[in-house]
């Protein structure tokens, strides 16, 4: 029974990763290849980032005699990435899975259901762990002394077992999140807040990584003193550094024992946990009269409600807009530093505004509100299709939502750029127009792509937002579009002024926006009404 359940979990994971459907539609080779390329790209980016960290500390730590600290750092980073990456999956797969009721009504042991779900989480953890494990091992071989046979054994065994410790923590945190969010009227609040905390921590880490790594390499001794005081952290590092079997056994036990405990606990209480009706206090309706608005406003507010009620949609699709606001604030705060950075020569100074404008366009390209807006209608699509409103109005509401989020943020960026760099003449005009035009471009590109590649075979909204082809087309299409003028501005700097390149880019983006908009309002509307 466990094997059957495990097979179905793995099929679900594969389906999620490749974006294939539950309706047994054949996934095209092109789509599979696109997903594979994307996965490899993301893995390579993260792996490269990790390698840069480990290669910076491997040599200094070895020379200082703190090889154990290198591996302690590795295990901590490995564990953190795995826990952050799998906590939401643990929450949805273990405690909120829609098929829990169905499976528990069958003659299947709860422990088998649990084991199959945990196995999938373990595979996910191990896959994420590889992105830290391989760079750490590579850096130690290339920049450090390399591994002895016993050290290899300990490193591999503990790398595998640390995934069990991560699984234990994910199960606990997932339970806590599930319990918290189920007690709130707006469940998405907890998910959004926790996701933002994780994301801020991640970006803080990235922004501070270079200085942190330098500090680590320089202050290995003091850090070793602090961490060495915590015996398990020392055992963990020493086990992999020296191949110390006693320490390996101890750490293996410390990873396996909590996992065994949590598995036994969850297996005993799985039915009760999975069927717990935690619920929130019921709000009684009080009739205070109804507000009337136009059909157009109602359609817009429908889109807005959907966007703000889903943490997955909000975070994954709206992150670019948040970045745009943050960038505007940072631009004003770091005004002096930026002016100094671009001031050494007039040649460099002339690139300041173009670079800022293209950065704003890149962030606008990361705002993906319209890209999943058709797919996310899912099984409720019949409502919009049966309403007595032109399909064009439904599609316009989707564009309006995207624009109402991204245009104000673009304006904030425009004001900041003008305030800091004070462009004049044509460049001032382009500074005003380009972010606005490109924001409109990203809105229509997303909707155009989603009408061409709708996907209604999703299990949860986050999947609809994250794994759709339209989202990838929109994001990479926007980035690709920004890259071309970005290269041309520098390559043709002597022949064409940057305002010329950016002006042409603005005109082309405006033309493409108009063409796609016309397509959406004609062919796109027909496609939508027939979905």
């Amino acid at each position: 029974m466990f094997k059957i359940l495990l097979r179905s979990r793995m099929a679900a994971l594969r389906s999620w990763l490749t974006g294939s459907s539950r309706s047994k539609k054949r996934v095209s080779a092109g789509k599979t290849a696109l997903y594979a390329v994307l996965m490899i790209y993301v893995a390579c980016c993260l792996g490269f980032m990790m390698y840069s960290v480990f290669s910076a500390i491997a040599g200094p730590f070895y020379k200082l005699g703190f090889s154990w600290l290198y591996f302690t750092m590795y295990f901590i980073m490995d564990l953190s990435l795995m826990v952050i990456g799998s906590v939401f999956m643990a929450k949805s797969q273990l405690y909120e899975a829609k098929d829990n009721d169905l499976l528990m009504s069958m003659p299947i042991k709860p422990s088998a259901i649990l084991a199959s779900r945990m196995s999938m989480l373990l595979v996910t953890d191990l896959a994420m762990g590889l992105m830290v494990c391989v760079p750490a091992a590579l850096a130690w071989c290339l920049k450090g002394p390399g591994f002895t046979g016993a050290a290899w054994f300990s490193f591999i065994v503990l790398s595998l077992l640390i995934a069990f410790l991560s699984l234990t923590l994910s199960c606990l945190l997932g339970w806590l999140l599930s319990a918290l969010s189920s007690r709130l009227r707006r469940k998405s609040m907890v998910d959004t807040a926790v996701s933002l905390i994780f994301m801020l921590a991640y970006f803080y880490f990235i922004s501070k990584m270079n200085s942190a790594v330098a500090a680590l390499a320089a202050s290995g001794a003091s850090l070793a003193g602090k961490l060495g005081g915590v015996a398990p952290l020392y055992w963990m590092g020493a086990a992999a550094a020296d191949g110390n079997m006693a320490y390996t056994g101890l750490i293996a036990l410390m990873c396996a024992a909590p996992f065994a405990l949590i598995y036994a606990l969850l297996a005993r209480t799985f039915i009760r946990t999975a069927t717990a009706q935690r619920g929130f206090a019921k709000v009684k309706y009080v009739d205070r009269g109804q507000k009337v608005s136009t059909a157009s406003s109602a359609l817009y507010h429908r889109e807005l409600s959907r966007f703000t009620s889903s943490s997955g949609y909000l975070i994954n699709a709206g992150l670019g807009a948040a970045f745009m606001v943050a960038a505007a604030v940072m631009l004003l705060i770091k005004r002096g530093d930026l002016l100094t950075a671009f001031s050494p020569s007039p040649q460099l100074a002339k690139f300041a505004v173009p670079v800022m404008l293209l950065a704003v366009c890149l962030m606008a390209g990361t705002t993906l509100i319209s890209a999943p807006s058709v797919s996310i209608e899912g099984k409720t699509l019949w409502i919009a299709q049966s309403l007595p409103v032109p399909t064009q109005d439904v599609l316009k509401a989707k564009l309006r939502l995207h624009l109402s989020i991204v245009i104000p943020t673009a304006i904030v960026d425009i004001i900041s750029i003008i305030a800091v760099f004070r462009p004049t003449g044509i460049m001032l005009l382009i500074t005003v127009l380009l972010p606005l035009v490109f924001s409109a471009f990203t809105a229509v590109l997303g909707l155009w792509a989603n009408l061409r590649h709708p996907n209604f075979d999703w299990i949860n909204e986050t999947q609809a937002v994250k794994s759709g082809v339209s989202v990838m087309i929109s994001m990479f299409g926007s980035w690709g579009a920004v890259t071309v003028p970005g290269i041309l501005v520098f390559m043709l700097a002597d022949a064409i002024p940057s305002w010329g390149v950016l002006g042409a880019f603005t005109v082309i983006a405006a033309a493409l926006t108009w063409l796609m908009y016309r397509w959406i309002m004609t062919r796109g509307a027909v496609i939508y009404s027939r979905l």
């Binding site: 709000v283 309706y285 009080v286 009337v292 409720t380 019949w382 409502i383 007595p388």
Partner: protein, 238 residues
């Protein structure tokens, strides 16, 4: 009120509906019966203008659904077999959304929301998010939203599934009241006893083709609707 003429719809090689013709007059409750996969839902969706069809024509109050879909949708209401509503909205928000789109005035919507939600015992739950509703509550909300713009034609796919006895009774009353006011009801059901007692006319389809249609008395004669249905199904199998 609803005229279906030679409707044909294919999915790939399969003919889901094959040359189907029906006429639902004002004042009629018209039942639509058939086994699973007979083509009922396909026909119903085509009548509501949410599924394009290959051949034939559908007229709602004399207007062709193909060329005048918006005018048709303004006077009809549709309740699907599975009430997948906007779970991100509360019940009252959903009703207001529907009322806004159909242009229902403030006084009309306040009166209808109050009256209908009281009738279905849903008033106290209107502030709850739809995601917290049971299947039956969602079905009640779908019914309230369908009646909110005072439609003249209501098309329903298995409307009694998930309803408690009180709500089922109320729905039957509302169906009859709408027809008494000159409206019409076209609905599919597997509950033949309900169809027999409630419907003025009935149509039985199998594999997309019309087997029998007419007034209840014409179709069943002295037999029960169930035995007629089973006989016709049996003949179709020979």
């Amino acid at each position: 009120m609803l005229r279906i003429e030679h409707l044909t719809k294919t999915y790939g090689d399969k003919r889901a509906v094959d040359d189907l013709s029906l006429h639902i007059q004002p004042g009629e409750i018209y039942g639509f019966i058939g086994h699973n996969g007979a083509g009922k839902t396909t026909t119903i969706k085509a009548c509501c203008g949410i599924l394009p069809f290959d051949a034939g024509e559908i007229y709602v109050d004399g207007r062709p659904i193909k060329t005048e879909p918006l005018e048709c949708k303004k006077i009809l209401a549709y309740i699907p077999d599975n009430p997948d509503l906007y779970e991100f909205m509360s019940g009252i928000k959903y009703l207001n959304f529907i009322a806004d789109v159909y242009g229902v005035s403030r006084t009309d919507r306040e009166d209808r929301i109050r009256r209908l939600s009281d009738a279905f015992a849903l008033t106290s739950d209107l502030a709850q998010p739809i995601s917290a509703y049971s299947h039956g509550m969602k079905q009640k909300l779908a019914i309230i939203s369908a009646w909110l713009h005072a439609p003249r034609l209501v098309i329903m796919d298995e409307p009694f599934v998930g309803l408690d006895p009180t709500a089922s009774f109320k729905l039957k009353e509302m169906m009859r009241a709408l027809c008494d006011e000159g409206g019409a009801i076209f609905f599919s059901t597997h509950v033949l006893e309900v169809a027999e007692k409630l419907c003025d006319k009935v149509a039985i389809i199998k594999e997309g083709r019309l087997l029998e249609s007419g007034s209840m008395d014409e179709v069943k004669g002295n037999k029960s609707l169930e035995s007629v249905f089973l006989e016709l199904e049996g003949e179709g199998n020979v």
